[in-house]
């Protein structure tokens, strides 16, 4: 039996080599460009298909649409050594073109935009291949010998061993090239820090192009060699992207050897599982191909989440934000008119257009779910189809035992729970990595649950029509295949969902969403529970997706297990159209629904352009997406909003569009409860270790109510680390007590809520909100009750007195509607303090608020700080501005090499020999208020 297991393991080297090849390509691309290239397999497959076509028919296929696409070189077919270089050249040219035309212009676009563009490229390439080479996978004449060889009694096909050897050899060679060659070094440097690499006279753009093309060529070569193991087809290799990603993530998107090993191991494991499924002891519920697909997901989650640190982010120079979120106030007459208009259309349309309208409305729901999660909170998810599918699944399972709308509510609840669970990885990982995790999760759910006959019996997959008070609301009754009842049902649900999401956007919950989207650290320091906020967003998003899934189930009347309706590529399509429409706005969701497959736009185009079929529409959508991403990365709705904003800005009325809340006239300082004895803040024995390095060693500090206490020290003394540790942003030992309550066992946001506020050296603002809105963020608690109220009736909490007081105290009233990034440095510093004050702190820790200020601004800051202290709030000031510190502080601590070396009044500190030695020296004599 052992030899059988070994044989299967070695057989698994075949698929494992393909996973490893794709994984290597993904790693190389990521190192050079920072992009996870979902289209890599398609680029490589193109070259493999061209090669095979040259060998069999002698025709060179060109990657073009519409115009003649083939050139006959030799009607008898070419030999391998002529065909192979031409095929690879074809891939190289295609890859180069795609890089220059698409990804180079998008280098500073948001991560999501680049992911979406690569998906658009994938869609376009697949369609091109389908049109040029047909659907039928080809069994390619093998390049590697296929005969079996016997080794130690085991029969093994040679080609598996050869391909594994080639893949491992390639990994070693390419890895060595990265380490030893100048170009490889340059690529690694660029991956760490583009700016520094540019200064070292490396061109990140050129290097990115090199890696983009090289990865496609290398992967193409591997696929050509492996094409005797796996039939070669237009869509074949795209399905391997999940296991390839799993392998790449195990290699942390940086190590080629680990990625290769992981890919090979994954292939071997999958083949073993395939064999084990036939064993009598294998559990019945796991007797499905989906068990294969759950393996990469588990690996991905483990690699990214359980193992600890997220992957290193690439040190990009500049990266654009997601598009602005446009907040609108519902104008009820307009809402009513729109509802009436769509209702009229539903009645007036022919059946075909009514079906299209219904599909459009369902598409709006799906897109809206993506707007909530990605547009508002910045979380990239590729699992929306899985959430929709879970909902449809439950509706089917409940049968007629649960009447409508109970079955719908239960189904939406299931989707919500599932979405919340899928959102848990988002607490530790973000960006493209989160996209990968959700994608893998969606594949696992789809294959292991939806396609598992143990859970879904195809003979019992019918979904009963919704009925309400005896009225059948189903789509079809008899020969009425597009009943208006169902369309109106969907319309009502869509309208309600749109209004609820609009409420969220306008409310304090929406502000917290935007805060998390803009800057998670700053959000935590403002008292926002980032984890809870993200999970809430996942829950709301998946609920809306679940609602869409329920409507899909009612629309089709069945849960079609083999239709790929809820497959991961459906999720990709949803994201594509949502981004195309505009990811950050309600209007974007409406546009996405109109444009989605089977929606109104498709039907209209199909009616007027006879040559349009589904495949051509997919190609058009892919091309349109790419063009939009390059020219206009913020989507159609976003671009329209920007044009309107520009016009209003020209008239000085841009606030009208942004709907930024107005600041009320008066505010009031916070009423601090008297603390049971001083000090207000006591930090005792704080120690921070980074591995073997002790950054802060047993430091102790006290700050009294209404006192200004300074912390100074040379560069690298550990001042910011001290503040990070005290406020919960860095793990540390020691105690932190605020007004008699221990805080050291609390998370950062809870410390902020308890009254320990802080500012950031780098500002850390919420760029998506106005100055006043920034200050409003800390003022609401985000309780369940608050959220529920916001969804139904948004809290009009713009009149928060402490926020108004803080803005006035720091002289920012005139800048209330400006964006932080539009303010001067000095005002940004003051804004950070104002935001901190608005959260009712007892003590505020100010991390270098004077950095970069001129003398006048520094003096003004000092005055403001005294005003703050005058309200009873303790101020803990960390700064290099000696004049400011000596001028305003009541007491000063001095930190050097992580240890407090002195503490006392400014006069005592100035004359302390240890301090003079370590820090002050000549500077003391020259120090004057406002001097640096």
């Amino acid at each position: 039996m052992l030899d059988t297991y070994l044989t299967f393991a070695i057989l698994g080297l075949g698929f494992g080599s393909i996973y490893a090849s794709l994984g290597m390509g993904l790693v190389i691309t990521y190192k050079g460009t920072g992009i996870i290239n979902f289209s890599l397999a398609a680029l490589a497959a193109w070259g493999a298909l061209v090669t095979d076509e040259l060998r069999t028919t002698g025709e060179f296929v060109l990657p073009v649409f519409i115009i003649p696409d083939r050139v006959t070189i030799d009607s008898g077919g070419l030999n391998l050594w002529t065909a192979l270089p031409l095929g690879l050249l074809s891939t190289v040219v295609l890859a180069l073109f795609s890089y220059l035309a698409i990804f180079r212009p998008m280098r500073t676009a948001p991560v999501l935009a680049r992911i979406v563009a690569s998906i658009g490229l994938l869609t376009t390439l697949q369609t091109l291949m389908l049109l040029r080479f047909g659907e039928t996978p080809r069994n390619v004449e093998g390049i590697l010998p296929k005969e079996w060889v016997t080794i130690a009694g085991l029969g093994i096909p040679r080609d598996r061993l050869y391909i594994a050897a080639i893949v491992v050899g390639a990994a070693l060679l390419v890895g060595a090239w990265f380490r030893k060659s100048r170009t490889g070094l340059a690529i690694r440097a660029t991956a760490e820090n583009e700016e520094a690499a540019s200064l070292a006279r490396f061109s990140p753009t050129s290097l990115a192009g090199v890696t983009w093309v090289a990865s496609a060529a290398l992967t193409g070569l591997m696929l050509i060699l492996a094409s005797s193991i796996v039939p070669l087809g237009p869509t074949t290799y795209s399905l391997f992207v999940v296991p390839a990603l799993a392998a790449a993530l195990v290699g942390r998107l940086s190590s080629l050897t680990v990625t290769t090993a992981a890919g090979l191991a994954l292939g071997m494991l999958q083949t073993e599982v395939g064999f084990l499924r036939g064993r009598s002891w294998w559990p019945n519920f796991a007797d499905t191909s989906g068990v294969f697909d759950a393996v990469p997901f588990v690996i991905i989650v483990f690699a990214l989440f359980i193992a600890g640190r997220g992957l290193p982010e690439r040190g990009a120079t500049v990266q654009a934000r997601l598009p602005d979120v446009i907040r609108v106030t519902p104008r009820w007459p307009l809402v009513g008119l729109s509802f009436a208009a769509v209702t009229a259309l539903a009645y007036l349309f022919s059946n075909t257009y009514r079906l299209a309208l219904t599909s459009t409305l369902i598409g709006v729901l799906v897109a809206l779910s993506i707007v909530v999660l990605t547009g508002l909170v910045g979380q990239i998810t590729l699992a929306q189809a899985a959430f929709a599918g879970a909902s449809a699944f439950l509706v089917m399972k409940l049968g007629d035992g649960w009447p409508f709308p109970l079955n719908m509510i239960a189904a939406v609840a299931l989707a919500t729970v599932l979405g919340t669970i899928v959102g848990i990885p988002a607490l530790r990982i973000r960006g493209a990595q989160l996209a990968v995790v959700t994608m893998a999760g969606a594949v696992a759910i789809e294959r292991f649950v939806f396609a598992n006959p143990r859970f879904v019996d195809p003979s019992e997959s019918q979904v009963h029509d919704p009925e309400l008070f005896g009225l059948n609301l189903g789509r079809q009754v008899g020969r009425e295949t597009a009943r208006v009842h169902f369309t109106l049902l969907v319309l009502v649900l869509v309208t309600v969902s749109l209004l609820l999401v609009t409420n969220i956007i306008r409310s304090s919950t929406g502000r917290r969403f935007l805060a998390v989207r803009s800057n998670e650290r700053a959000a935590a320091s403002s008292g926002v529970d980032v984890a809870q906020t993200k999970l809430l967003a996942f829950a709301i998003s998946s609920a809306i997706a679940g609602l869409a899934g329920t409507m899909m189930a009612f629309f089709l009347g069945q849960f079609a297990t083999d239709s790929n309706q809820f497959a991961v590529f459906a999720s990709l399509n949803f994201v594509v159209f949502a981004y195309l429409g505009g990811i950050s706005s309600i209007n974007g969701a409406l546009i996405a629904g109109v444009m989605a497959p089977s929606g109104i736009a498709f039907v209209i185009i199909n009616d007027y352009f006879d040559f349009f079929g589904g495949r051509e529409y997919a190609a058009l959508a892919g091309i349109l997406l790419i063009v939009t991403m390059v020219i206009n990365p913020i989507g159609i709705a976003g671009a329209a909003e920007e044009r309107r904003l520009a016009k209003l800005a020209a008239k000085g009325e841009e606030d009208q569009l942004r709907h930024t809340p107005r600041m009320p006239e008066e505010g009031a300082p916070p009423e601090l409860e008297p603390s049971p004895g001083s000090p207000a803040l006591s930090v005792d024995g704080l120690t921070v270790r980074y591995g073997g390095l002790i950054a802060v060693n047993g430091a102790s500090v006290e700050v009294g109510a209404g006192e200004i206490v300074g912390l100074i020290g040379p560069n690298g003394a550990g001042k910011t680390t001290f503040v990070d540790a005290a406020t919960g942003f860095t793990p540390a030992t020691g105690t932190v007590t605020l007004a008699g309550r221990r805080l050291d066992d609390r998370s950062a946001h809870r410390r902020a809520r308890a009254g320990l506020g802080r500012t950031w050296q780098s500002g850390e603002f919420f760029a998506d909100m106005s100055a006043y809105e920034n200050v409003l963020v800390p003022t609401t608690a985000g309780t369940v009750r608050q959220v529920a109220k916001d969804i139904v009736s948004p809290t009009r909490d713009t009149a928060v007195s402490t926020a108004v007081w803080a803005m006035d105290l720091l002289g920012l009233r005139g800048d209330a509607t400006s964006r932080p990034q539009d303010l001067s440095l000095g005002k940004r510093k003051l804004l950070g303090v104002a935001r901190c004050l608005a959260g009712n702190p007892r003590v505020v820790c100010l991390d270098e608020p004077a950095a970069g200020l001129d003398s006048g601004e520094s003096r003004e800051l000092g005055t403001r700080l005294r005003d703050v202290a005058g309200t009873g709030i303790g101020v803990f000031l960390i700064d290099h501005d000696m004049g400011l510190v000596l001028d305003v502080c009541d007491r000063i601590y001095v930190l050097n090499f992580g240890e407090i070396i002195a503490a006392g009044t400014p006069e005592e500190i100035q004359s302390d020999p240890a301090v003079i030695d370590a820090y002050l020296g000549e500077e003391t004599a020259d120090a004057a208020p406002g001097g640096s």
């Binding site: 075949g14 060889v149 016997t150 079906l355 599909s359 006959p453 879904v456 297990t561 089977s598």
Partner: protein, 444 residues
């Protein structure tokens, strides 16, 4: 650490290459066991040219022994005012399918002069996008156009309940998956019921003396359901089977691993009753050739690939829903023999013969319109409407194009909608011809 990894990698490369270049004395390609005695005559083999992918023009087997007959008008029902009978066709975006279907319609309308006294078919065509939504839209169009029947291979995306609700008959492939279709009454299809295409080949292998089979099924809901049905049927037929699952489209199966899995249970034959994706036949046969110790196999309808690899797989079996060209002498009727010629002539005029000329497509695509016309001809109706067809089609009894008579009324259960159909078992000969092993039992 990196150096150690590098060293391990280099050693691994050498080990893999050394293993791959090793002696292959012990590895044997499978040879079929001696076939059971046959009572049918071998076929002549004049031109057994083949391809392994969709050819432009193909000669699958020797020239037909019968010349293409003069078409005769169909006997049967007469309608008072013959006219155009609309049928809905759900197109499949594979090269040549639409043309082949249209060729069948043209044959009925032009060569046969229509049916039931001169009625002709008018096709309402709708392209399936392989999505349920587009299929709903197509059905919507069919109903709006008052078609009497829905046809097309992509009926598999249709919800059979929608057809029932609309009282729209379907003809040809099963709507939805086979288990779905069999759970819904009244829409008619003459794709054979599970009992037929699952049980009959197993019974045939049993009659040839095989007792224990490793049988392949697609690894999806339909395949798993089929595996359960097949296992029950096999038990009743005195053959035990062990299912092995291979990845269903659009996923790609590892055929070598799947074959080894099947072989590992020690069967005395391996079988694949449904190989519907275009790459499945070549994959299965290639794996059978290359995997050591593979016992004799039975493959579903893989005539083209069987011919291409005949020298390596002589003595193994395929089954077919139609008489293969060259085997007209064993056709159940002269008409069937003639129909082989008719089909070959039709395909010869088409630039893209679909699916490599597999004879499943002959029946299911080209033959659809012919079979439908014959089915309607057999109905006791004087008016051809959606309602009359829907109510009466389950009682159709007609000669299936290239396959012989079928009686849709002979079903074991009232709820079962598939009609029985003929299937033949063929043994592959090394020169690319086939030995007809006779009709498979029509299990209903």
């Amino acid at each position: 650490m990196k150096k150690i990894r590098y060293l391990i990698g280099v050693l691994l490369v050498f080990a893999l290459v050394a293993a791959a270049c090793g002696d292959d004395d012990g590895a044997e390609t499978p040879e079929a066991e001696p076939a059971a005695e046959t009572t049918s005559s071998a076929l002549d083999a004049e031109e057994a040219t083949t391809t392994t992918e969709a050819p432009t023009t193909t000669t699958i087997a020797p020239e037909s022994t019968a010349s293409a007959p003069e078409p005769e008008p169909m006997p049967g029902c007469m309608t008072d005012s013959p006219g155009a009978v609309k049928i809905g066709y759900l197109g499949l975006p594979l090269p040549g399918n639409d043309e082949l279907f249209a060729a069948g319609v043209d044959y009925v309308n032009d060569e046969l002069g229509g049916f039931c006294g001169g009625n002709t078919f008018e096709v309402v065509s709708c392209q399936s996008l392989f999505t349920p939504e587009s299929t709903v839209d197509c059905l919507n169009q069919f109903i709006a156009e008052d078609v009497v029947v829905a046809t097309g291979l992509t009926l598999l995306f249709v919800n059979p309940n929608d057809l029932t609700s609309a009282r729209l008959a379907s003809f040809g492939a099963a709507p939805g998956s086979v288990p779905e279709a069999e759970s819904v009454e009244s829409s008619t299809h003459f794709f054979p019921p599970s009992t037929a295409f699952l049980g009959a080949p197993i019974a045939a292998m049993g009659e040839l003396g095989f007792e224990n089979g490793g049988v392949f099924f697609t690894d999806n809901a339909s395949g798993q359901s089929s595996a359960e049905t097949a296992a029950e049927l096999a038990d009743g037929l005195g053959v035990s089977i062990t299912p092995t699952f291979f990845a269903a489209a659009p996923e790609v199966p590892d055929w070598a691993a799947a074959m080894l899995t099947a072989v590992a249970s020690g069967p005395d034959f391996v079988g694949a009753q449904i190989l519907s994706a275009p790459g499945d036949c070549p994959g299965f046969i290639s794996a059978a050739i290359n995997t050591p110790n593979t016992p004799p196999f039975l493959a579903a309808s893989c005539a083209v690939d069987a011919i291409a690899n005949a020298a390596d797989i002589a003595g193994n079996y395929i089954y077919s829903f139609t008489i293969l060209p060259g085997d007209e002498a064993n056709a159940p009727t002269d008409q069937v023999a003639d129909e082989v010629g008719i089909y070959r002539n039709a395909v010869a005029d088409l630039p893209n013969a679909p699916l490599g000329g597999e004879f499943g497509s002959a029946r299911d695509v080209f033959g659809t319109a012919i079979n439908l016309a014959r089915a309607i001809e057999s109905l006791p109706i004087t008016e051809i409407t959606g309602d009359t067809v829907y109510d009466n089609l389950p009682s159709a009894a007609f000669d299936v194009f290239m396959a012989g008579p079928v009686d849709c009324t002979a079903r074991p259960d009232a709820g079962q909608t598939g009609c029985g159909t003929n299937m033949w078992l063929y043994e592959i000969v090394a020169d690319g011809t086939f030995i007809n092993r006779g009709l498979l039992p029509v299990l209903q």
